[in-house]
């Protein structure tokens, strides 16, 4: 008797402990969900410069499928310059973008017009609706963004949480039909299942059959390990009963949908139907079709055994079994099932969210996030991070970097065998980072040269020298003569600094525009020293260089060093007309529930006069027309009006090029990781990569109209006077109104007077 009571007490305590465990986990945060990172969504509008082919590549990346009917979200069809597209819709930071069916009409310039088409549900067949059949003009449509990665927790479970109502038709029916027919009736255990399992087990003398209800399976996944012992089974059964006691059927079902193991992506386990849908079909769960839902249901029993990528035949058979069962249960008609069976598995080749996608860009995103969020939250809170990455730009840049490096290697041989690269591309006005490449093999994670290779910049600091001068309108203009001649100044270590020109020649008196275009070291250094080292360093800081730089003269020719990303920040200010914007790789962060959490807004800060920056930009365009960047126009149309600057360091250890058009600012660095010398200058190395990138990107011409205070004049630099058109010794340059001299050369004035007299007699 006493023994009996004692036993009861023990059982009571034991059940109490189990009950606590059941409720504790179920009530608390059940899963840690990795943050998901998205590329920028493509905005479609009339006037968008994109070819149908480029748009279709974007759709393919998003796993849209070509289908003449275009009857469901995620499909499109193209014929005779018209693309019919049914978007998926997406929940963005600024609201839900609903799925829409639309027609895009293309002309040579890109998207000409967008009109909406009626959805099937808007106008059900048989009903004659008086309206909604007219195509409606649409101004703007956003596609869903490409998932480019995530931040995964230590135990490497990847999932996307879903709610019960997000499951597609037949998923739940199929799941219950195949896993647990009595789910809505039983109290956690199914006697029929247990009996059936018992019979099988007795027959085979081992624990082969589970006979588990969904509740039991959830308990096993949630609280217990995989061992099949009788005591485990007993505990599992008690916990299943307790779970059913405390929670609604739908809550348990929803938990099961999010917990069940459905596959593997490298190190990461794919848990739940939400993530599985992305993993196998690259689509949101609620848009799966019957045959896709059936495949996922089939995987619940054994995701590795039925892995549709490794064992497609086995998976197909399994899927069709599920479809047959649905007919048996009167969920599907025989006709529907047969139609679904004719469909291929439709599994995408590689999961779009593979870790290897764009590692250098993700690295940048992660560093920015780590400033504002705890690592733990990034790995567990299911944050949705919307980045600025433009997959189209990123992929083209990656391809061209790889190709150009290969061709440089075949041209220069052994000495550049280990040539490495760091590339950053941004949108010049906003400072949004569009693409990052951190290695010659862009898919290789590891040392991210775009962010971490701090290398001397060579002539890339020269624009800061010239900008300092050009901001002083009284004393300097592009036509001011400066001295390109040998000089030496003592340095701190008892040595002398005597800069040399690349060609070894001093060029005497040269105009500022020529000195920058041809990148004369002696003229640039002399000008910098005349202006004062402190003032030039001040300009560098104003341009956005935060890294401390050495305060000795060699800094004028790039001593110290910056990463490609830091160089981008510096030139961003020039490309944006003197307004500095912090480079941004993140736009918005949403919580797992879709609540806005943070925005990284556009901010601008004026650091230089638009007039001074205009003059500098003009000189940087001259670099491309007549100077060190000239070779660009052998390959690119001259109308692009590119502004650029080459950079080469001593003994050819670093090859740099920075250039911008209207829509892209791109910085390219090439060099060896061991800092060895190579036979490449900025022009023969980095510029060639830049050209290849731009050729592929087809940028818009740089359009920088002169500010009001700038006037184009004929100017004689030697005499320091204005001149008439085409007088000998005169150059045609933009000048600030304060720099324009009142005096005229004899040639100019004379012409002017004669012209004026002539005009009286007309």
């Amino acid at each position: 008797m006493r023994l009996g009571i004692g036993f009861l007490v023990i059982v009571f305590i034991f059940v109490g402990v189990l009950d606590f465990a059941v409720r504790y986990k179920f009530n608390g945060k059940r899963w840690s969900v990795p943050a998901k990172v998205y590329a920028r969504p493509l905005e479609l509008y009339s006037g968008l410069a994109i070819t149908p082919q480029a748009l279709m590549s974007e759709l393919k990346r998003l796993h849209y499928s070509m289908d003449a009917k275009v009857a469901t979200p995620g499909t499109y069809y193209f014929q005779a310059n018209r693309l019919i597209l049914y978007t998926r819709g997406f929940e963005f930071w600024d609201g839900l973008e609903k799925p829409v069916k639309l027609a895009l009409d293309f002309d040579d310039a890109g998207v000409n017009a967008i009109s909406s088409l009626p959805l099937a549900s808007d106008n059900p067949p048989g009903t004659s609706s008086g309206f909604a059949s007219e195509p409606e003009h649409l101004d703007l449509v956003r596609l869903d963004p490409l998932l480019i990665g995530g931040f995964f927790p230590a135990h490497n479970e990847d999932r996307i949480l879903i709610r019960l109502e997000q499951s597609p038709p037949y998923l739940i029916d199929g799941l219950l039909a195949i896993e647990d027919r009595g789910f809505y009736e039983h109290s956690g255990l199914s006697m029929r299942g247990i009996l059936r399992a018992f019979m099988v087990n007795v027959k085979e003398f081992r624990l082969a059959q589970g006979g588990s209800t969904l509740t039991q399976q959830l308990v096993k996944n949630f609280y217990l390990n995989d061992k099949r012992t009788f005591s485990r089974k007993a505990i599992e059964a008690i916990m299943a009963l307790l779970l059913e006691l405390h929670y609604e059927k739908d809550e348990i079902l929803e938990a099961y949908l999010n917990e069940v193991y459905l596959g593997q992506a490298g190190q990461r386990g794919i848990h739940g139907f939400g993530m599985a849908s992305q993993h196998y079909f690259g689509q949101p769960l609620n848009q799966l079709k019957t045959h896709q839902a059936a495949l996922l249901v089939g995987l619940a029993k054994g995701a590795s055994y039925y892995d549709p990528r490794r064992f497609p035949e086995r998976a197909l058979k399994r899927r069709n079994t599920v479809l047959d069962l649905l007919v048996e249960q009167n969920v599907l008609t025989k006709k529907q099932a047969e139609a679904a069976k004719t469909k291929p598995l439709g599994v995408i080749a590689n999961a779009s969210n593979s870790d290897a996608l764009f590692p250098a860009f993700l690295d940048l995103v992660k560093r920015q996030l780590q400033r504002d969020y705890r690592e733990e939250d990034l790995r567990t809170e299911g944050l949705r991070i919307f980045t600025t990455l433009d997959p189209r730009v990123q992929i083209k840049v990656e391809n061209q970097v790889e190709r150009s490096l290969r061709s440089l290697q075949s041209g220069y041989g052994e000495s550049v065998r280990d040539l490495q690269a760091g590339v950053v591309v941004t949108a010049p006005q906003s400072g949004e980072v569009l693409a990052v490449v951190g290695a010659k093999n862009p898919r290789e994670a590891g040392f991210n040269r775009a962010l971490d290779a701090i290398r001397p910049t060579g002539s890339l600091f020269k624009p800061a020298i010239y900008l300092t001068a050009l901001s002083d309108y009284q004393n300097y203009s592009l036509g001011t003569l400066i001295k390109d001649e040998a000089f030496s100044i003592p340095t701190q270590e008892d040595t002398e600094w005597s800069p040399r020109n690349f060609d070894g020649i001093s060029h005497g008196d040269v105009t500022m525009i020529e000195a920058l275009a041809k990148s004369y070291n002696q003229a640039g250094a002399k000008l910098g020293l005349d202006l004062g080292l402190g003032n030039v360093l001040q300009s560098l800081r104003a341009l956005g260089v935060e890294r401390p730089l050495p305060e000795y003269p060699a800094v004028l020719l790039g001593a110290g060093g910056l990463s490609p990303l830091e160089v981008t920040q510096m030139y961003q200010t020039i490309a944006a007309g003197g307004f500095s914007s912090s480079l941004r790789s993140i736009r918005e962060v949403l919580t797992a529930q879709g609540e806005p959490l943070a925005r990284y807004p556009l901010s601008v800060r004026q650091m230089f006069d638009p007039e001074a920056v205009y003059l500098l930009t003009h000189a940087m365009q001259e670099v491309m027309r007549e100077g060190t960047g000239k070779s660009a126009y052998y390959y690119l149309p001259k109308e692009l009006n590119i502004a650029g600057k080459t950079g080469t360091t001593n003994d050819l250890r670093d090859s740099w090029f920075v250039g911008f058009t209207e829509d892209y600012l791109a910085v390219v660095w090439l060099g060896l990781d061991d800092n060895g010398a190579m036979p490449l200058t900025g022009s023969t190395g980095a510029l060639q990569v830049w050209i290849a990138m731009m050729k592929d990107l087809e940028p818009k011409p740089l359009f920088a109209p002169p500010p009001e205070k700038i006037e184009f004049v004929w100017y004689n630099p030697v005499q320091g006077k204005r001149s008439g058109n085409n007088c000998s010794g005169a150059i045609y340059i933009p000048m600030h109104e304060q720099s324009i001299p009142n005096e005229w050369t004899a040639c100019g004035r004379g012409d002017k007077v004669i012209d004026a007299i002539k005009s009286w007699f007309k």
């Binding site: 703007l140 400033r371 906003s430 592009l478 007309g577 556009l602 901010s603 027309r625 920088a704």
Partner: protein, 163 residues
């Protein structure tokens, strides 16, 4: 002054009035903070001839006003959001507009007005300056002068509120 100009003036001042209406907005609970991470950014003498081809013709001015319907659409919904006091959402719309047309003076101007309402005066002033710099590159027109004047007022207000 013609009729068209009067309407423009009225619109200019009406939108200005919207930003001056601080007391009304002050009582409203401010929307979720939009936190700003990181606190924010050959030969000798004159034988050289700069190339003339591209330089000899200063480029023509662009359109003076936004013509892209997508941009107009975004700016108009941003205006609604601004009137409802939903500033971060409004800013998000304007940034979308600026991605499509990075030189939209209207988008920069409205963004400056929103920052002023959010009492981010430094940001407001800088955005207005950016709009002015873009505007300064455009052809002379009465509309341009009007927009310029409006932007100067934003700058003045941003500066006065800061102290």
């Amino acid at each position: 002054m013609n009729f068209f100009l009067k309407i423009l003036l009225f619109l200019g001042f009406a939108s200005l009035a919207a930003c001056v209406a601080m007391p009304e907005d002050a009582g409203r609970s401010s929307p979720a903070p939009e936190f700003l991470p990181g606190g924010n950014a050959s030969g000798n003498d004159n034988s050289y001839q700069p190339s003339r081809k591209a330089a000899s013709k200063p480029p023509q001015s662009k359109f003076n006003d936004e013509v892209n319907p997508a941009v107009i659409n975004l700016i108009s919904s941003a205006r609604d959001l601004k009137n409802r006091g939903e500033y971060p959402a409004c800013a998000a719309k304007l940034e979308r507009a600026l991605r499509i047309d990075p030189e939209s003076v209207s988008a920069y101007t409205l963004l400056a007005e929103v920052r002023l309402l959010q009492e981010q005066n430094l940001a407001a002033e800088q955005l207005a300056r950016k709009a002015m710099a873009i505007l300064a590159q455009r052809k002379r027109s009465s509309n341009k002068e009007l927009q310029m004047e409006h932007l100067r007022l934003i700058v003045a207000e941003a500066r006065s509120e800061r102290h």
